[in-house]
Assembly symmetry: C2
Homo-oligomer: 250 residues x 2
Amino acid sequence: MNAHSRNATASQDLEARLMAIGAERYHDKHPFHHKLHSGQCTPDQVRAWVINRWAYQAAIPMKDAAFLSRCSDPQMRREWRSRIEDHDGDIDAGGGIRRWLKLAEAVGLDPDYVASGRGVLPATQFAVDAYIRYVRDMPLLEAVASSLTELFAPSIHERRIEGMLQHYDFANAESMSYFKKRLTEAPKDVKFGLAWVLDHADTPEKQDAACGALIFKTNVLWAQLDALWGAYVEPGRIPPGAWQPGEGMA
Amino acid sequence: MNAHSRNATASQDLEARLMAIGAERYHDKHPFHHKLHSGQCTPDQVRAWVINRWAYQAAIPMKDAAFLSRCSDPQMRREWRSRIEDHDGDIDAGGGIRRWLKLAEAVGLDPDYVASGRGVLPATQFAVDAYIRYVRDMPLLEAVASSLTELFAPSIHERRIEGMLQHYDFANAESMSYFKKRLTEAPKDVKFGLAWVLDHADTPEKQDAACGALIFKTNVLWAQLDALWGAYVEPGRIPPGAWQPGEGMA
């Protein structure tokens, strides 16, 4: 086997390992998503999800700015910058995070309350902040690899759009526009990120590091749904200071 | 009212606010502690607590080193340094974290497994890491105020020692030595920290900031018990990769 085909095999192996991590650990496996997409969430459970997932949405452009802040390759920064543009958008039109607030309005919440971040579960904020810091502080390979959960995002977004349109009155083209838009944005981003990781993880140690980064990121996502479940589903014990049903309504 | 008595009143008011935060939010109110101290935890639930709380114990000397690393007052560093000494101890004898591993052994766990940090719930690690970073990055007043949960620690440690000695076979003077020791260490530390906060929080904004720091810290502690409850009590869904009963036994 020559060096080229050895590299091609290592790259295929790593891609298979990354896909297996998603198959085992991505948060589409979490029961909260089954509940949400099959119409079994109460209106307050949907609201709790919208409020808490806001903390994650709002952090994404900060995470990507943290990435740019430590990336010394201008060509890579040019590729990566569109992620901030997708989420923040233009001054007048806004972007992904403004589309998230459309969903907040549709479920009866005051978008200013949601945007304030008050009421977010501390466990959610700890997870989200851990992600920003990871991308800022870890080696570039891990920072890129931690974004690869987007490999698995389009299929969960498709199921979400279909399930929510079918089961919830508030779901329509406008309130679901965040997810609709991500169907085209995420594949574009992840195509670049995956190719970069496969190209740069050229030793077994780096391949393990890339897998570790993807596991870290699946933990960030999973921990948010566990916190949501504990506070608003079962046992339904809301931690001191977190959103109480009835608060923050439009 | 002269300036001196105005200051004394403001200081008493702040102390009362800090005590009220503890009364409402300290983790002695969390049902996991009621369960633990009243002998209602299964051996595996006790083990899960020992494994996860290790992540917190192990982080304390790093948190205090982060504090020293940004404290420019040598006198204050001299006061604070004993916290690291209490937890790390001498090379031969060890300190608080080694005493924690005695507890791990007593409940049948391999202390090396516990010390490795493998199996810790991601949500616990996110909370603990948030605490280290808070102390490293926030203004000094908030860094000190976040330590004031120690105001409430001796009474929970007393209840824990008494309850665990009464209800669990593994509990004895050696396995409970961590908590026994904290009964004298924590009051010494918190006496200095509280006096410093009351002295330096000399505007309403700083008083609010000190209260915010204590709330942050109660969230760090509460989130750990929520994660433990969700994974090992109710619904008892262990996140991917976290400790499974049977793993890491001596």
